[in-house]
């Protein structure tokens, strides 16, 4: 009874080790989106990569086990024999649960630490770790973070720069090497602001100031999409001409924008807007 057990286990173990190593090596070669344009996207790429590497051995192990047992433990054609009479092995079960628990806790730990690190390298004066800050209480400018309001409406995103007398723009321009605080709000239904290369996604709710953070590291353009079903043009609600530009370019751009905005009767900047009218019936 013991002998075949051990041989089976040994074969499986060796094959599993070899294939897992191969898989992990391949996984290490991957370079995953969303890329390296911001601290957040670097973190997310790294986490995705880490998860792929962690899940490779699991995947290999399960598939290997299924295939192996299908071929090794086959019922002879036409025969009707019973397998060995084993009702379980407590030590093995405990070990299994413990291992999965440890892996899960590691993952959760990484996630939580990254949550808190979401604003690392930023010089926020507020003591509250931004990831743990409830939405709304970061409405004012803190430290040297650039405050950008994202206004979602059916079906376009516009952007207001609170620090520059709340000028409004069709496209999102950000200076490089800056800490940006996004205040995402909506003037009608739910949308979700997804700046893909920046690694930013946050829902836009009417009457809510949803705060999220990004630290830009590289210049370049990025795509903005809506990631929450918002009606007929949800799919078309995207803008590929957002860009992270150098500080100087940003300064010139924002001054030009302020000039253009002079002729527009914009309302005073507010953290969020309650859409009106609430029309029902005709």
């Amino acid at each position: 009874m013991i002998r075949p057990n051990r041989t089976h286990a040994l074969r499986l173990l060796i094959a599993w080790a070899v294939l897992s190593v191969i898989g992990v090596v391949i996984g290490l070669q991957l370079s995953l989106p969303p890329g390296s344009q911001s601290q957040q996207s670097i973190d997310q790429s790294g986490l995705l990569k880490l998860m792929i590497i962690l899940s490779t051995p699991v995947f290999v192990g399960v598939v290997l086990f299924i295939l192996y047992s299908v071929f090794a433990f086959r019922q002879k054609r036409g025969a009707l024999e019973d397998g060995p009479r084993s009702y379980g092995n407590l030590r093995l079960q405990v070990a299994w649960v413990a291992i999965t628990a440890v892996v899960v806790l590691i993952l959760a730990g990484i996630g939580i630490s990254q949550l808190n690190a979401a604003a690392n390298g930023t010089n926020f004066t507020s003591s509250s770790a931004p990831a743990l800050a409830t939405s709304g209480d970061v409405g004012t400018t803190e430290g040297h973070a650039l405050q950008v309001q994202v206004i979602a409406q059916q079906w376009y995103f516009t952007y207001r720069y609170a620090d520059y007398s709340g000028v409004e723009s069709l496209h999102l321009m950000l200076p490089v090497n800056a800490n940006v605080v996004f205040h995402i709000t909506s003037t009608d239904v739910l949308h979700s602001f997804w700046a893909y290369q920046l690694g930013v996604k946050a829902d836009a709710n009417p009457g809510v100031d949803n705060v999220t953070y990004v630290t830009t590291l590289q210049t370049g353009s990025f795509t903005v999409r809506c990631a929450e079903l918002c009606g007929i043009w949800h799919g078309a609600m995207s803008d590929t001409s957002g860009a992270v530009v150098s500080q100087a370019d940003f300064a010139t751009w924002i001054t030009q924008l302020q000039k253009d905005n002079l002729s527009i009767p914009l309302p005073p900047y507010a953290p969020y807007y309650f859409p009106s009218p609430r029309v029902k019936g005709t």
Partner: protein, 214 residues
């Protein structure tokens, strides 16, 4: 529960218009099984109903805490008079209590049981009427917006809906206390149903405290 322990009399051959009732005809009619099933099922149903009402109370406190656009209680909106609400709650409690009392005596004296059941039914119907009256004189219009009016109408509405169902069931119970009713099942299901009446009354009480005082 107490009446659940009442020893079952051997199933007598009750007949109705010369025909045996459920008690004696069903080949696998087992009184204790039916009683157990009814007890377990009612408890599960009551827990499910707790979840149902929990959603409404969650809505109340959630919207009240958010107070979006300062429109939880729109300007000029006032709570309905507490007197009417109290009447509704008392009637609901009275209905449940009377029913409970009747369910106790249902094995011993059928006559008192029927009396109690009738009183419970009347109390429930009165409760229904008063609630309708309150709806017609709210003092605010949910169509004009506001979180409180919405929750008030919704919570009271679904409660009234369940009360209506309970009253129909109660009427059925009264009908079953007639001589040709299936008297074997009755005491069990009567006590079980009492639990639900008490549950509804409790919800009414909590809703009263929440909607009129918080």
């Amino acid at each position: 529960m107490a009446a659940g322990n009442v020893a079952e009399p051997a199933a007598p051959a009750f007949t109705h218009r010369g025909m045996p009732t459920l008690a004696t005809r069903s080949p696998e009619w087992e009184p204790e099984v039916d009683a157990r099933v009814a007890r377990v099922g009612t408890r599960i149903w009551i827990v499910a109903d707790v979840f149902f009402f929990a959603a409404w109370f969650f809505a109340f406190f959630y919207l009240r805490a958010l107070n979006n656009n300062y429109d939880w209680l729109p300007a000029g909106t006032t709570h309905p008079t507490r007197g009417i609400g109290a009447v509704i709650v008392l009637l609901a409690i009275a209905s449940a209590g009377l029913y409970w009392a009747g369910a106790r005596t249902v094995l011993a004296q059928r006559v008192t049981a029927r009396l109690f059941f009738w009183l419970a039914l009347i109390a429930g119907i009165l409760c229904f009427g008063v609630q309708i009256y309150e709806f017609r004189n709210l003092g605010f219009d949910p169509q004009q917006g506001g979180g409180y009016p919405s929750v008030f109408v919704g919570l009271k509405g679904v409660w009234l809906f369940q009360l209506t169902g309970a009253m129909l069931w109660l009427a059925a119970q009264i009908a079953q206390t007639r001589p040709m009713g299936d008297v074997i099942i009755r005491p069990k299901s009567a006590v079980i149903f009492g639990n639900f009446m008490v549950f509804l009354a409790a919800i009414a009480l909590v809703a009263y405290l929440v909607l009129y005082f918080v």
